[in-house]
């Protein structure tokens, strides 16, 4: 790890001001991705701006038909929250499937989204539920947030403050884990929102994506066999030691089917 300056602002504004001043600085949330990259010397920020002391970024609020979760809320808090379990059980379940206990106790929602790892779980829920990502500057619809491999709509220094998830009629997340890292090889989030069905896939491609054919089929009939015959194209999907693009494409169908089954339970 290279040397860096450490800051611990107590408000979003202070954090934003620091971020604006330090072009080579980075926001620090749970550190589960960033600190590792620093240890490997793949990232060498001049400054770390720790968001951990900002009360406004923490906590879970259920309000009418939506669940708002502060950016600094740890995965374990979401997984364990009685309110989230009640309003969107699929979201609490998803959080419970991230990494291991230690990672869940440190990693945060905001960090996961800003990082936009192609195999991360949260992006599937954000896109699958049609959530809104709230930053210190604006509100970004899920469909506009994820731009590509480790790429989001966030501008330099822009801070995610919270994410607002509309509660669906029914939803489920099913993840086929990478046996080594336990990130998603393919994770599928299916949500029957009441206004339509959304199907979001993580792990399979460079960035989380929706499957329009499945959404249409499920909109007509919300049942596992509605998606059983729908295949996504392998072109452009990820290939690595653990899974080829072709296998991933196959798993999208299998996981989608299982997610629908789970949503119906």
């Amino acid at each position: 790890m290279h040397a860096f300056n450490y800051h611990r602002p107590s408000s979003v504004n202070d954090a934003a001001a620091l971020a604006a001043k330090q072009a080579e600085g980075k926001l620090l949330a749970g550190g589960q991705s960033l600190v590792q990259a620093m240890k490997l010397r793949l990232a060498s920020p001049s400054d770390l701006i720790d968001l951990g002391a900002i009360g406004d970024l923490k906590g879970i609020k259920v309000d009418g038909g939506s669940v708002s979760i502060g950016a600094m809320t740890r995965h374990a808090e979401v997984a364990g929250s009685a309110e989230v379990k009640k309003a969107i059980p699929a979201l609490a379940y998803l959080a419970s499937q991230i990494g291991d206990r230690q990672v869940r106790n440190m990693g945060t929602l905001g960090g996961s989204l800003a990082n936009a790892d192609p195999a991360a779980d949260y992006p599937a829920a954000v896109l699958g539920l049609g959530a809104t990502v709230v930053t210190n500057k604006r509100k970004i619809a899920a469909d506009d947030f994820f731009k590509g491999l480790y790429e989001t709509a966030l501008q330099p220094g822009e801070i995610i403050t919270q994410v607002s998830f509309p509660a669906p009629k029914r939803a489920a997340y099913v993840k086929f884990k990478n046996p080594a890292s336990r990130f998603a090889i393919v994770g599928v989030f299916v949500a029957d929102t009441g206004k339509g069905v959304r199907v979001a896939v993580t792990g399979a491609g460079p960035s989380v994506f929706r499957v329009a054919d499945m959404e249409k089929a499920l909109g007509a009939k919300f049942a596992p066999d509605a998606v059983a015959g729908i295949k996504v194209k392998a072109d452009g999907l990820n290939t690595d030691l653990h899974a080829s693009a072709e296998y991933r494409a196959h798993l999208v169908t299998v996981m989608a089917k299982r997610a629908v089954e789970a949503a119906l339970k």
Partner: protein, 773 residues
């Protein structure tokens, strides 16, 4: 599952009464009170960091460390040229093997830093020593090495082709050493008359040891010598090799080892990092410490397995084995370590026919140089590979010949009346009842109940398969250990042994042996290991600690009594023959005149009694066993789940049941890991390690295992050592890989598949289910 445990009661701890005793060392190890090498910090300590080769094969045109030397905090920056100037040489491998033409084994020498050329990714090239680790890391980034890349080869099958890149002039065709065993003509004849020949080509893939504790070494100049604080299963061997590398007397070094967080054979011998910190201590007169990052451990520690086989098994009409032919390419890597050659060339062949009577054999084994990290000792070391080949051959033969796999095995076991049994390699199996072990296993695993379980799985949309393995190990590598026991005036009884605990509970095991022999409470007993000033020996490799080291402990205990009797006779003015020993007291028989051990020690002018015993079991031992595994496969994803695991092992006499169960269970996890998920993969084009982190190298975890049923056959004590023990550290691993493999292939058999290479990853199984597409 683990048998109910009794609390460790030091006062009543006796061999026999204490067979499920909790481990004495666990309080220390589980509550953060252990002393691992990274826990040690010395005043004035500097840090060493390595610049490692990013290329698999390249000439080093130049190395420029000038900027690094100028960097803040830097004390030194060395290339091999600098080390040579200070008289540092290479770490030798044992000259045990030959090439086909009779000339000695050849390979690039293991210099602590690369000299002129790099041979694999991760090879140390430059060493930086600085005040802090961060400063050394920063300086390492300033080192300029001009590499001229050369073509590389990572796969031994490619390496032996005529047009392959060549690694070492002394090893033409990249064959570093070759061994042949058996009688080719007899095997030709058997193949010609065989009713059936089962053929199999397989790869026993490369694995990474993945000890929980990454390596860490510290060199400290003390009292005119250099002490190496490290983690090492063979401290004496490490000391001797330091002598060799520095052209100095071994006694000018001391090796001190504390607790070890797992070794598995990887923490043996001497490493370049060890030599470098010692050089640092000599040259800079300051303690110098190096610690591996986890990612550095992937690149910098030797790996295991990686053997390619082509084999033929000849059988008669009834499925009786007539002959085995085996042609194997062992991937040595580029720069062999001490254990690289012996494993495929000698240890595997020793048990290649395992528990079967195979009338004729013909083995050809070539050790091949490739641009990869060296392979070396890793749990089982040659024996898992040999047993895996045999168990896959036998299982495939059973399927091809439509004979029940248990029955085919039964027909071929070495029978009781054939013992002692001479092997083709000139060893003798002393004991074993392979049929009995298998029958016990089949009962324990409810082998007969499988059909119903398969139906239940099918009803849930799962494929179920079952697999068997029967297996044999050889233990007792270099069968001599010396143990000293010292009885002090305060009653402390200290055992000094050159074997080395690395998590397997030797402290408890040895303590139990001493309580048994000397009939004294465990609290009086101290076990000292890991200090070449206090005890020397071969160390702990190849499941030999209890077998050889434990025998020496008991022999030394007996010597305490013999010597004590003489001293007591003098003190009590009686004839030695009249002195009896019981419960820590020497007494003139029939009187109440007696002396405690401690009192006797106090009467000596040195105020202690010390004895030394060297014990050499008369021959190696042959632990053996059988395992059964059932798996469930999700046909939609190809994911394999372990559903049932049972084992019956004949490890001779058992000293501590909980410890041996732990050894077997951990071993099974490692073997199942190989079958299902572990593989070290090098890119064939670039020679880069593709599985360089835990994100890609998949290690088994506890949540992937069903409860295991582990039983032991205790009625067949080993005949060749004082304890009747056979060794158990590697057996679980040896049995698990083939049992799991056979189970997966059983589940896939209905798709007409007869073999598939490990590991059975989801995609591989999914493709197999689709008929290979």
């Amino acid at each position: 599952m683990t048998a109910p445990q009794t609390q460790f009661d030091p006062a009543s701890a006796r061999f026999g009464a204490s067979r499920t005793q909790k481990r004495i060392e666990d309080d220390r190890l589980l509550t953060g009170k252990g002393l691992y090498s990274d826990d040690r910090t010395f005043p004035g300590q500097a840090w060493l960091v390595l610049v490692r080769s990013p290329y698999a094969h390249a000439d080093i045109a130049s190395i420029d460390v000038s900027a690094a030397r100028e960097a803040p905090g830097v004390l030194a920056a060395w290339s091999m040229q600098d080390l040579r100037a200070d008289g540092v040489g290479h770490i030798p491998f044992p000259p045990l093997f030959k090439q086909a033409d009779g000339s000695p084994m050849e390979a690039p020498p293991r210099t602590p830093l690369a000299e002129g050329r790099v041979y694999y990714v991760g090879q140390p090239v430059v060493a930086i020593v600085a005040e802090t680790r961060e400063q050394a890391q920063d300086a390492a980034e300033l080192v300029m090495v001009d590499y001229q890349e050369l073509p590389c080869v990572a796969d031994p099958r490619r390496a032996v082709q005529p047009d392959a890149p060549q690694l070492w002039p002394g090893a033409p065709g990249n064959v570093s050493a070759e061994a042949r065993y058996g009688d080719a003509a007899a095997v030709d004849a058997a193949l010609a008359r065989a009713a059936h020949v089962t053929e199999l080509a397989l790869h026993n893939q490369r694995l990474i040891a993945m000890a929980l504790e990454p390596r860490c070494s510290i060199g400290v100049a003390e009292g005119g010598r250099v002490t190496l604080y490290t983690q090492n299963q063979t401290p004496t061997g490490a000391r001797d090799m330091l002598g060799a590398a520095f052209g100095a007397k071994p006694e000018s070094f001391r090796v001190v080892v504390g607790d070890i967080g797992g070794g598995f054979g990887m923490k043996t011998g001497l490493t370049p990092e060890d030599a470098l910190v010692c050089h640092g201590a000599r040259k800079l007169r300051r303690p110098v410490k190096w610690r591996a990052e986890r990612s550095e451990e992937f690149l910098g520690a030797h790996m295991g397995r990686d053997q390619h086989y082509a084999a033929k098994l000849a059988l008669d009409r009834d499925g009786r084995i007539l002959a085995l032919r085996m042609d194997m390419l062992a991937n040595f890597g580029a720069v062999p370590v001490g254990s690289t050659a012996i494993i495929p060339l000698a240890l595997g062949p020793k048990v290649q026919t395992t528990v079967y009577h195979v009338p004729a054999v013909d083995y050809r084994i070539r050790g091949v140089l490739t641009n990869t990290m060296a392979t070396g000792a890793y749990r089982g070391a040659g024996r898992p590979e040999a047993n895996f080949l045999m168990e896959r051959l036998v299982d495939k033969a059973a399927r091809e010949m439509k004979i029940d796999p248990a029955e085919l095995r039964r027909r071929n076991f070495i029978r009781l009346e054939q013992l002692p049994y001479a092997t083709h390699l000139g060893d003798w199996y002393d004991s074993g009842d392979f049929g009995r072990v298998l029958e016990r296993l089949l009962a324990a695993a409810d082998w007969k109940g499988f059909a119903a379980r398969r139906e239940a799985s099918r009803a849930r949309g799962r494929l179920r398969g079952r697999g068997l393995s029967v297996y044999l190990e050889w233990t007792g590598a270099i069968p001599t250990e010396t143990v000293d026991i010292q009885v002090d005036a305060d009653g402390t009884v200290t055992v000094f042994s050159g074997t080395q605990a690395m998590g397997q509970g030797l402290e408890t095991t040895y303590t139990q042996l001493v309580t048994e022999v000397l009939q004294i409470p465990a609290r009086a007993i101290r076990i000292v290991q890991g200090d070449t000033d206090r005890a020397n020996g071969v160390g702990s490799v190849g499941s030999r600690s209890a077998f050889v080291g434990g025998s020496a402990v008991v022999a030394a205990g007996h010597k305490v009594i013999v010597r004590g009797r003489e001293l007591a006779a003098e003190a009590l003015e009686a004839a030695a023959g009249d002195i009896e020993y019981r419960d820590g007291r020497f007494r003139i028989a029939g009187t109440d005149r007696a002396l405690e051990l401690a009192e006797l020690a106090a009467r000596q002018s040195e105020r202690f009694i010390r004895v030394s015993a060297t014990e050499t079991p008369s021959a190696p031992s042959w632990p053996n066993g059988a395992q059964a595994c059932e798996v469930e496969i999700d046909p939609d994803t190809g994911a394999v789940e372990l559903a049932r695991i049972a084992s019956v092992d004949d490890i001779g006499r058992i000293i501590n049941r909980m410890i041996v169960e732990g050894q077997v269970q951990g071993g099974i996890a490692q073997g199942a890991g190989q079958a299902l998920m572990e593989q070290a993969v090098y890119d064939p084009e670039s020679g880069q390690l593709l599985t360089g982190s835990l994100m890609d190298y998949c290690v088994p975890r506890a949540d992937q295992f069903p409860p295991m049923a582990n039983a032991f056959e205790e009625g067949i004590p080993c005949q060749t050592n004082l304890l009747g023990v056979k060794g158990c550290g590697e057996l679980g691993t040896i049995g698990a890989a083939p049992a799991v493999a056979n189970a997966v292939l059983d589940a896939l058999a209905e798709r007409g598949l007869l073999h598939l290479e490990m590991p059975y990853t989801p995609e591989k199984v999914w493709r197999a289910l689709r008929g290979g597409r």
